[in-house]
Amino acid sequence: MHAPREQTYLSATVDIRSWLLTTDHKRIALLYFAGITFFFFIGGIAATLIRFELITPGPTLGSPDFYNRLFTMHGIIMVWFFLIPSIPTTMGNFILPMMIGARDLAFPRLNLASWYLYMSGGLITIAALLLGGLDTGWTFYEPYSTFYATGYVILAVFGIFVAGFSSILTGLNFIVTVHKLRAPGMTWYRLPVFVWSTYATSIILVLATPVLAMTLLMLLAERVLHVGIFSPQLGGDPILFQHMFWFYSHPAVYIMILPSMGVISEVVPVFSSKPLFGYYFVVWCSIAIAAIGFLVWGHHMFVAGQSLYASLAFSFLSYLVAVPSAIKVFNWIATMHEGWIRFDAPMLYAFGFIGLFTIGGLTGLMLAALAVDVHVTDTYFVVAHFHYIMVGGAVMGFFAGLHYWWPKISGRLYPDYWARFAAILAFFGFNLTFFPQFILGYLGMPRRYQSYPPEFQIWHVLSSAGASILAVGYALPIFYFAWSILRGPRASANPWGATGLEWTTRSPPPPENFAKTPTVVRPPYQYDRGKPCMQAGDVR
């Protein structure tokens, strides 16, 4: 089946120009993968230093100003240059066209432009950090960030502004691709859930990011021109900034989690050899999360001075938005019922995701309860909550997808023993890092504090110990993935026994993805007593 001399997208041309000027969605995905790995590393160093600093109640590493710049850097890099792009630009770019039977995205050159915008924005922000950084927090609240903060606010904000265009164009490309480039027979309800999830994510990317662009522009105008649009000196309203900022930033967290959920919806059926339970519900829950997610931003502002009636409405809607996520969790578990479950690395990460996302989501319900939120907002309770979702959820989903599609992308298999070990290590390290933070939060430990009352130290020490374990769990894949490229056994077209279109073509795929455009004859995830039924009609 696999002829070593045939061209793959990797071997077709090998010079640097063919990579930097490529319009092949698969190569662009790898370009993005290099970028997000680099930024994850930078954000991770910041996290390591933060956890190291917090081992002692007083200053450990440096001045308060140094610490403030550290957590700002960690937030900005991780949110905009790692989490938001992570799955859509790597797995979305690589796998989505193949999943729908297309030869590329709708606008390949726009795709490459998106990568350059992302890297430019990232490098501008890195420049701001190298020059000395900024200490506003990733949330840039006014009037601190415009009239009081020293540091490279303008440069960093500009970097984020540029990268925002990458988000918008990528989302646009995906939406148009899914509408227009589906293979014959690939109706909407035959699309894999990963496609639906990426589609829902793209709607958010396209509609929410421009609001961030305008908000950042107004922030820049204020800082550069020294006029108080949001500052009280001229009568401006600092809370208006918060409304505009969170109108984007809450949907942004759904940009970070929806693709991960899509990955889990792919992995669980394969490693249970069973169709996804409740396909239609899972699909429409993705759309519902995207839609309702635009209506809950005020839950970041319950103590900000927002009107009482607004707070009541936002609390109610925040409970509503949790319902579709809960439905998905039940559906994933129900998929496993009466399945043939295998525990390869992707499935271990999926198990981890389901457990940790559930914990994170339930603590979100606690935060949505107005009276409780008054106590725990702006404390480590919130920090723990969003790390459970972002790291325990989104990053675990990223690793699940990475380990699931690695054979397809690289054409090699990795050693499963080490992969499972890394997954388990990361799971335990993660919980040790972040569970104590829930306790710290209810105790009253505020966020963004370098120094803290000594009685809180024990929880911080445990948390930092967990972080060191988590770091090992994240570092291990570098080694065994590198090994797999150099010496790993070659992968067949469908090493996992999955059913999607991407598994009907070679690993790694040829430049044009499919020798012949496939014709889709059945829905996704069809298994007959544990045996996969391929989606396309003309595949052996």
Partner: protein, 314 residues
């Protein structure tokens, strides 16, 4: 101090209600997580590849499961939202007879002014069993006044007054934190709330030394800033007499009516053209940039003092 602190002190009845709600949420979350973990582990074991469990495919009617767990989830969630909102609403209904203390947050300290003129920095002494109402302002950026033991927190936003009230029941010393990032020394902008039994509180007030009450200081400022020139009878410019105004309705020139609370007084001083009293010309100059937050608090206290006596200290 225990080696593993699990729980913050609970210093008020309101804090107890929060504890109860939080623990209930914890229990519900715990049961849900327990169910999820149990099912995951149970299925992982029973249906692992190679096991001889029965897989005859009895789960065909998917939509019944879907609808039932959707509806159940929805009902529980709406109930929880309501419960949280119900307790939250209590924060918005301060009692009429509260002891009013002015708080000013600035980089990087909290200043408190008691009605008798006593001042504190990074500390707040209050009597137990007494309603306390805080009127808070920021001199520069957004801060947040956070007392974990009372389970209350309020962002303090520059350009406006925010209020918060509580009734501490348990005597003791509790953390005060700033909970909204505000710059370099954000982590050091805190101190202690000391709740004392009423007799000790009275002694403490005495011990601060003789000073004028906040309202008396406010009266002096009222003259010094020239307010009395227009607002007292016999003034050259026709301006509303402020005696008996505080706490009552004020008709405005655009036809609407507002209640003269501390926000109204503050806004009238800093931005008089925004809300002009009906029947008066908009000639009052603005004092933006001239009056500090501390002085504003004293002026407000004075205007409140000369308000209608029947409504008490609002």
């Amino acid at each position: 101090m225990p080696a593993f602190p699990w729980w913050p002190p609970t210093a008020s009845a309101y804090a107890s209600q929060i504890n109860f709600l939080f623990v209930s949420l914890l229990v519900i979350a715990g049961l849900t997580i327990g169910l999820v973990f149990y099912l995951l582990l149970f299925f992982a074991n029973k249906y692992r590849h190679g096991s001889n469990a029965d897989r005859s495919g009895t789960t065909k009617k998917t939509w019944r499961f879907e609808v039932s767990w959707t509806v159940a989830t929805l009902l529980i969630f709406v109930g929880l939202a309501g419960w949280g909102a119900d307790i939250y609403l209590k924060l918005y209904n301060p009692p009429a007879d509260a002891l009013q203390i002015f708080i000013v947050g600035k980089q990087w300290m909290w200043k408190a002014q008691h009605p008798g003129g006593q001042r504190e920095i990074n500390a707040l002494h209050v009597p137990a069993g007494q309603d306390v109402r805080l009127v808070m302002a920021s001199q520069d950026v957004i801060h947040s006044f956070f007392i974990p033991a009372l389970r209350i927190k309020q962002d303090v936003v520059p350009g406006r007054y925010e209020t918060m009230w509580f009734r501490a029941d348990k005597v003791g010393r509790y953390h005060l934190f700033c909970a909204e990032y505000c710059g370099t020394d954000h982590a050091h902008m805190g101190g202690w709330i000391t709740v004392m039994n009423p007799r000790e509180y009275a002694d403490w007030l005495q011990a601060q030394g003789g000073q004028q009450t906040l309202a008396a200081q406010g009266e002096q400022l009222f003259r010094r800033y020239g307010c009395s020139g227009c607002h007292e009878p016999g003034g050259t410019v026709r301006a509303p007499n402020l005696h008996g105004v505080f706490g009552g309705p004020v008709p405005l020139s655009d036809g609407s009516v507002v209640i003269a609370d501390e926000r109204y007084v503050r806004d009238s001083i800093l931005d008089p053209k925004a809300q002009v009293a009906a029947g008066y010309a908009p000639v009052m100059p603005t004092f933006e940039g001239q009056v500090s937050e501390d002085d504003l608090a004293k002026l407000v206290a004075y205007i409140e003092f000369i308000g209608p006596t029947t409504s008490g200290g609002r």
